[in-house]
Symmetry: C2
Subunit: 118 residues, 2 copies
């Protein structure tokens, strides 16, 4: 396994040491249902690699971010979420409400979303 912060909740989920409602995994990312869903569909797409926040990303992670998005897009397609639509969100840092310091992309769908986004 690629994750390497023994105290990180999402590393533990990546390593299957903590269970989750997994909906997708490959060699770079996993996706699972948010434990506190804010919409009928609320999935987190998480890199296996422990990257605490966006400013910790290297140039080599550029493709990984693209992959997070394509995984979210493919999940949306598979689940028929494209017709209604969906919102993608990354919280980075304290003011944004980042709850786990391991980058994750929120895929929210199944209801109308208000503006501003929080």
């Amino acid at each position: 396994m690629m994750s390497h912060d023994p105290n990180c909740l999402f590393c533990k989920i990546v390593d299957r040491r903590i269970p989750s409602k997994l909906v997708y995994s490959d060699d770079k990312v996993i996706a699972f249902e948010d434990i506190n869903p804010q919409a009928p569909t609320h999935i987190l797409v998480v890199p296996n690699k422990h990257i605490p926040d966006i400013q910790s990303m290297n140039e080599e992670d550029r493709g990984l971010i693209g992959h997070l998005f394509f995984v979210a897009r493919n999940l949306a397609e598979t689940r028929g979420l494209e017709k209604g639509g969906y919102r993608l969100v990354i919280n980075n840092g304290r003011d944004a409400g980042q709850a786990v310091f391991h980058i994750h992309l929120h895929l929210l769908s199944g209801r109308a979303f208000a503006w501003p986004p929080g």
Copy 2:
């Protein structure tokens, strides 16, 4: 110029046919201030290429999505937004409130953001 939908607002901004408060541009993307800001910093990062929504992206656009994020990240770094934090949002489709059908990444910062994100 790469944009090619003559009726698209963001293509017109990319082509400089409509003015904007531009904060960044390169050969692939532009970034400008949202005309209806929802936070002290509210910037849109927009590909030059006219891609209406996420499901219209090709595999070849994977790097472009990564680039949108790195541009947002670099703008956040330059403007000192990392300490407080920031929220990144993509609205895709009707329910998400996508207002312009040309993909764009919202960079919001400068205040605390509530949960859920809209």
